[in-house]
């Protein structure tokens, strides 16, 4: 299973994030700046955990501030 920025966008969609927000998400840019709030973020993390069978501890979650960081983190755990 791969996990890249495009797959991540699909997960944001599955987590119910609005298309207008997903459209603003750039790989290296801040998710908060794109309009991802704390509840969307929690649901996206849960979606990732369920789809990929990974656990994202709170302290690690705080560092996943961009799509790129998210993809990198999950990709490393799938290798």
């Amino acid at each position: 299973m791969s996990f890249d920025a495009e797959v991540a966008r699909g997960l944001f969609r599955a987590a119910g994030v609005k298309e207008e927000v997903i459209g603003k998400i750039a790989v290296g840019a801040s998710l908060v700046d794109a309009g991802i709030d704390s509840l969307d973020f929690a649901n996206v993390l849960l979606t990732i955990e369920e789809r990929y069978g990974v656990q994202i501890p709170d302290e690690q979650a705080l560092e996943l501030t961009s799509l790129g960081a998210m993809a990198e983190y999950v990709h490393a755990r799938l290798e």
Partner: protein, 319 residues
């Protein structure tokens, strides 16, 4: 058969506008209304105790009907009068001037409390040959909330409900399921005198624990989502209800909410919503689900005892 005859409630008069606190908490109106779903929270008066909220709920019930001769009085709360000794149900018993023969006890549960307490109170009445009981929910979180804590201050409200249980019910308990994940109790607890909530952990728990329990009880009863008229879920937040509805594939019209009017009232959230449907004869099957503190969750299926209006009319015509 003992079941639910009536429900009444009390909402204290105090209101705190969340809309006026957006800047203070650094959130936008869209997030407040669209995701949290609570434009204002309800606060009891400083001189109102938990038992007073219960008494006011009974007064509302009495304005509607005579509750009859009560055999048992149960209060579900984790924010009792004073320091919790004596039990709040005894104080309510005293304030209502009930006779010595009336049993009274508290149940310590949070958001799952109504389903647990309903099952327990019904069993208690039936196994002891008692005809009627009053089941209260009253958990005024304003006693323990830090007004400056964004995670909780914008969400929780004070309220009380009373459910009259008796031998001529409108709704009966068809089935119930209960569960606990005590290993995660610290995710939502009273800590250093205030309420602490790990929002992400409670969200994850709700999203992963609730749907399997709901699906299991439906399957075991031979019902599908289509067979249930209303899904009354604990009013955790707007976002949580929406996402749970999505996971359970329940259409929005079957997912009532009172967050915009009353906020998250802990164990009162389920009976406050159920109160809307107790006398609605077209609402035949109702699912109740509470989840939160413990972590604890419980689901119940209620079935209407009275005939459907059309069926009753047909019977009248035949006579």
């Amino acid at each position: 058969m003992t079941g639910i005859e009536a429900i009444a409630s009390y909402l204290p008069e105090g209101r705190v506008s969340n809309l006026e606190r957006l800047e203070e908490f650094g959130i936008g109106e869209e997030f407040l209304l669209g995701k949290i779903g609570v434009p204002r929270v309800i606060r009891k008066g400083a001189d109102e105790e938990t038992s007073d909220l219960c008494v006011r709920a009974v007064e509302a019930l009495r304005r509607r009907r005579d509750p009859g001769r009560i055999g048992a009085l149960v209060v579900c709360t984790q924010n009792p009068d004073g320091s919790g000794l004596p039990h709040t149900s005894a104080i309510v018993h005293g304030k209502l001037g009930l006779p010595d023969e009336v049993a009274a006890f508290d149940i310590s549960l949070g958001c799952s409390g109504y389903v647990y307490a309903l099952s327990l109170a019904l069993s208690f009445l039936e196994s002891n040959g008692l005809e009627r009981g009053l089941l209260f929910t009253a958990d005024p979180y304003s006693k323990i909330i830090d007004p400056g804590d964004k995670n909780t201050a914008l969400l929780f409200s004070d309220a009380a409900t009373v459910t009259l249980l008796g031998p001529r019910p409108r709704l009966r308990l068809r089935a119930a399921r209960f569960a606990t994940r005590g290993s995660r109790h610290a995710d939502l607890q009273r800590r250093d005198g205030g309420l602490y909530m790990n929002g992400r952990a409670v969200f994850n728990f709700s999203m992963t624990a609730v749907p399997p329990q709901v699906r299991e009880i439906l399957a075991a009863t031979g019902w599908t989502v289509n067979d249930v008229d209303q899904f009354i879920l604990h009013q955790g937040s707007r976002y949580l209800i929406d996402r749970l509805g999505q996971r359970l594939e329940v259409p929005p019209e079957k997912l009532p909410s009172n967050l915009a009017e009353v906020g998250n009232t802990v164990s009162s959230s389920v009976p406050l919503l159920l109160e809307r449907y107790v006398e609605d004869l077209s609402c035949r099957r109702i699912l109740l689900c509470g989840f939160g503190v413990g972590l604890s969750w419980a689901t119940a299926l209620l079935e209407r005892v009275e005939a459907h209006p059309e069926e009753a009319r047909r019977r009248d015509d035949e006579l």
